[in-house]
Symmetry: C2
Subunit: 145 residues, 2 copies
């Protein structure tokens, strides 16, 4: 098993970060504009021709924690989990991210690790300035987009 | 053991990417302007008050591969390895990155994973445009810089 891990910090509030992770409106402002589904059930994230992911919301603790399970998408993703843990350090809100449970560290995992970093920087920008870089306005990192 | 993995792609040549990983001049253009040492021995990367890292060059294969071992720096880094593998896919030069051998997935590893992503995007920018974002001009991702 292999995990993608990231950490970002922002001076936005824990509530703003939590909202960015749990409301369709805010998720659409930093990850993909094509975000639909049920905030209490299964969220659907789509990226045009590339496809997308369905995420079942397993756990939510307001201002602190979110856990998703990937229920549909690329084979490498299905069954993995995505977690977000929010804490405060002085005036900073810190977000720990883990996309856990990859069966093998395949090249696609390398790609997703870098891509997640750019999307988390998009989240940071969104909560700080109101403007992120969600798909289809996301940063291209390679031939795999 | 836990590894940080990343993948970026660029239309710059494999030779340009290899130069960015093996010459003090080019390393200083995307990672830290305070890069010194011996390109055939130990490279020294410094980040002001934060400290820095000494990297022993273990392997080099022009246009294809670079391997460093961390010989000095934060305790979590010493003994870990940093590798870069370059390949070509059509008109793209693909760079696979691994910072391998972390003893534990500590919070500092989460931070370094995201920070490496931003520095690799700086490398991409440097080989494509001639201008990167090395320390002290690097992108701030959190209270840990």
């Amino acid at each position: 098993m292999a995990d993608i891990l990231h950490r970002i910090g922002t001076k936005a509030s824990p509530e703003a970060v939590y909202s960015a992770l749990t409301t369709i409106k805010d998720l659409g402002a930093w990850w993909t504009t094509d975000t639909t589904g049920d905030e209490d059930g299964v969220l659907m994230f789509r990226f045009g021709e590339v496809g997308g992911f369905d995420m079942k919301v397993l756990e939510r603790d307001p201002g602190k924690h979110v856990l998703w399970e990937v229920t549909d998408g690329p084979a490498e993703w299905v069954g993995t989990t995505v977690s977000f843990d929010i804490s405060q350090e002085d005036e900073w809100t810190v977000l720990l991210f883990a996309h856990a449970g990859w069966r093998d560290p395949v090249e696609f995992m390398y790609h997703c690790s870098t891509k997640w970093a750019t999307f988390l920087m998009s989240l940071k920008s969104f909560v700080e300035t109101g403007s992120g870089q969600p798909h289809p306005h996301d940063v291209q990192i390679s031939n795999w987009h």
